[in-house]
Symmetry: D2
Subunit: 339 residues, 4 copies
């Protein structure tokens, strides 16, 4: 970490700050006195240094990090890819492509079981479905809650597909006991109380990037979970908020490649929420293969117009079947061509 | 609400959709058959119509709202300003300017009481202080939790200043019983489970705009609280995330004027977090007066370099004293000039 | 186009506006009187209707377009793909993948000829090189200007590669007579005077999306060129400005698929500028194949550290050779798998 | 400037780079060898160092500027405010408030003279009016060009008001000979060829911030003009592009205070374009006073619905009269209260 001091700072002031920093953070501080400014260099493990509190010194002009502020997540300290293995043996992060499919919301037993069977036939390896739904409007359907999870478990029993569903509050954590992967939605990516609680579980967490969160903030949220002991984190890029309004969000595929480079965690893409446009699901999925994605999460509903939430971005099981076939074909072709 | 159908839609298809919409949402639907497209107009109370589920119909090209999707918050249905009165008689939203001041985090009894006394002397009408702190890094100071709230209550007992502090999880709600105003931070603005719980209280809620949330989404989050029965909501503009990096966030003062126009709720501004730069607090505060702000929330720390969080954007009590004097002078001058 | 009138508008006022609109824009206007609002629907060719001037009527609440505001560019009126054929027979937009490679700036004869030969050997089909360089700082290297173009023409003579180079002012247009494709940079995407002048040429124009321009604005800039008669426009996605700072810009691959859907024009991607990170060039290029890109423009410099501009995002000819091989292999594999 | 080298860089490599940097940019380089990384510090005048070309060295991890990259614009080298004096003696930047008013486009003699007279009566000190209009659509009114400037000059002759009008291409520069202030629009803020040409004039330039340009980029564009010799630059904040869609742009008032701190140039605000909403003009203008603005540029049209461009954001002369009165009253009150 580089601390640039203001013009006019005396050597004594610089030394006083150096001592404080050494003392407070157990780092070594090198000073370098220049003509226009004095610079302090902090050596050692600086990931706990609080930039704001350094900046609060009157003599400090600015502070620049050299090292990343995350550690558990950091590929520099954990070079091999993390591979997550589910109860049924399914692996995520081993180079294969997992497709997680299912409706935005679980709406009823028949619906979820029918969709589960169909997406399994089309090659999906996991079932998604919302039981707790974060909706912008309090008047929109909020999900079936505990009943929704029960229905997902029935669909799992019926098909063998592991299930992924979103948690919205730490208070509900017990309901998720038999869920295979717990999803943290974009709006809760910095719900730190929730992250800490999930960090105490021994269960994979699918962490969606917040709609206005940076790559680094996303990794810091993964660090929250991992720092509590749970090392099974899957990152998910689902589009970020930009000025462009044609698509609901702007899918940031660079982030996928960067997540894979900076961290050792599996990364999946959500092409349904990213664009909010059904016909873009296939091209964005194929594009995701190019940046090394480990999985896709795709909304499938047997009757999109009657979906109780997010019907607009869902595709039918028939459309999903054709889409999945092409995505898997593209995956196999690219793997062979680029091996 | 206007529903534009795709080219080639038949009259029968349009009528089928009209019937469904009338049935599902108890609205009246007018159809208008044009050369290039057919348009349906939904009349009546459309704030419960789920746009996504309308868009999911194959024949629908796009949907445009004409009415706002919020009701309780809407000035159209509640023309006078909401004025919130605290236990000690203090009013928010009555045309006066309230300054809420205090440290980012409560760090100890001496600290908080000293700051409380000083900011009161300088004209602050409420004390802020964080007990639960949302920090990007799990390694940063997370607040004193219950102890922090106890210390705030001591400072309140000592000075008579009502207290404002942030809640991060519904699980902690009992700890906030004697807090005067509960703050929902920007990162939790769409933590809908938390909003619903706060909606069941009879206590003012200070709702901060999320760092990438629109004006409408902010009003919808206020609607979440109000739709559960709690009508005491204060909105807070604290800067939004943009591409500009010189300031931490970009303060959106237009939003303040728009919040006041679209809703009847009091609106305050947080110039400390908006910019993250202490010298900008005064000019941004004075600017906020121009758009009709009801209050300001300003970070004050007796020893910014040793603050355990966000010292960089705090000012000292001495600096606050000078700043508050100038802000109140500007308020009085503008009120007189523009009455 | 849908014009929503304010509550309280009388039927007479609505009719007066209808007549004006019919008269001014030769459209048919249907009126629909609802309980809460009156809505006018404009039928016919509305792409010339100026939304701002409709909004300026006191009685107008808001205006929503139903049709796109562009015509020449619009696939609805020109269903087949535009294929551009260069002097040497090279085709752009015919389903093949063109790679345009070369240095950010032309720096000298030896440099540009050496790079041209090498990138040709690696499969590049065109040579790029900047003669006029838009640089944020007036103190940075601004390009060799006319001499730069001469050197590109020498490299073309030597290798047969068509050349692509950027124009920064209509005043220089004569210098571009023998250039194969004239590039309009992101910063000039809305330099409308320049666009109109280029519209009078009979030469392909490579139009880069502005760093904060929407998909629709980009299409409107293409419309500027086409409305003057030049129908040879190639669109280029090169990343947009967002809050994310890890990459220089955020590559918006959804935009590529959307450009191809809404317009009939060829679309290329610039992975070098999009990310500003050399190791991202390959994954982003492969990803671009997934959204149907017609070409890539990649910065190659024989000596990146000594490049006079943008060395940071360039790769060496050796690295380019390996990258191009993998991109072409991926293209062939995907074409076979997804045909 | 701080150059951080990659882990594993040898001392020899670091020294080689140091020598190159010293040689190329005439700076002194201090090296500091740490455990995890080596850091070079560049001392002296680093504003000409090209970051990209430093980053292109394989051993360089990242580069951080300590000094600003602009010099002529920099308040550090020119501490007093620049005050611009027009032909008629009017001063900009001397602490007074100038209001520039007039229509978006000049449409005819009667129109512009009538508006000029009225806005003068209401206290406007300059007349604005577009002769060359940057319009997103090629089908929208593009301005009266040379005739528009002639009409502005007639209005100037009639009223004595200095005139401000926008230039869109260096080719038109001769037409602006008698214009008092030449405006560079947001879309041309990085039209560097134009900036360089304007830098050779002896005439004030009103430089609008680009809709997605940073504070630093705006200052660099001013530096382009000043580095050619023209020191009469006025900066203009007119709103930036963000994800918020309620307003056309998001007015960044922090930028005004920061422009005034980092540079010595006068700064004005354009509340009409910033929001695109007439009723926001007054509150945003008063707010601008709080951040120390030197002037405002406000669109006034005698007949907004019939304006040929941007009628939606214009106000009538009557509305302007009331607005200007309140703005001047607020200015006087704040000056007295905060002196």
């Amino acid at each position: 970490m580089i601390v640039v001091l203001k013009k006019g700072t005396t050597k004594e002031q610089a030394e006083q700050l150096s001592l404080k920093l050494q003392d407070k953070y157990s780092v070594t501080v090198n000073s370098w006195y220049g003509e226009l400014s004095t610079v302090l260099g902090l050596l050692g493990d600086t990931h706990k240094v609080d930039i704001d509190s350094v900046l609060a010194w009157d003599i400090v002009d600015n502070v620049k990090r050299v090292q990343e502020p995350y550690k558990k997540v950091n590929r520099a300290f954990h070079t091999e890819n993390t591979i997550i293995t589910l109860e049924n043996g399914l692996k995520i992060g081993d180079g294969s492509l997992n497709i997680i499919a299912g409706p935005c919301s679980v709406e009823g037993e028949e619906q979820i079981i029918e969709i589960a069977k169909k997406v399994k036939q089309s090659g999906a390896t996991m079932l998604r479905g919302g039981a707790f739904k974060p909706r912008t409007s309090p008047y929109a359907f909020q999900g079936l809650h505990a009943d929704g999870i029960d229905l997902l478990l029935k669909a799992k029993a019926e098909t063998g597909l592991p299930i992924v569903t979103e948690i919205m509050s730490a208070e509900h954590i017990d309901l998720f006991e038999n869920v295979d992967i717990i999803q943290v939605g974009a709006r809760n990516m910095q719900n730190f109380e929730l992250l800490k609680r999930l960090g105490k579980l021994n269960k994979p967490i699918l962490l969606k990037r917040g709609l206005a969160n940076t790559i680094e903030e996303t990794l810091m949220s993964a660090e929250y979970i991992m720092s509590e002991g749970n090392e099974q984190v899957i990152l998910c890029e689902r589009g970020i908020r930009t000025y462009e309004t044609y698509t609901r969000n702007t899918l940031d595929l660079s982030a996928v490649a960067i997540f894979k480079k900076l961290s050792h965690l599996p990364v999946i893409v959500d092409p349904s929420h990213a664009a909010g446009i059904p016909w873009l699901i296939e091209p964005l999925s194929v594009a995701s293969l190019g940046v090394g994605v480990d999985g896709l999460i795709i909304e499938v509903h047997n009757d999109p117009p009657h979906a109780l939430s997010d019907g607009a971005q869902s595709i039918t099981p028939e459309k999903f079947d054709a889409t999945a076939k092409r995505i898997f074909a593209a995956k196999a072709a690219l793997d062979a061509a680029l091996k």
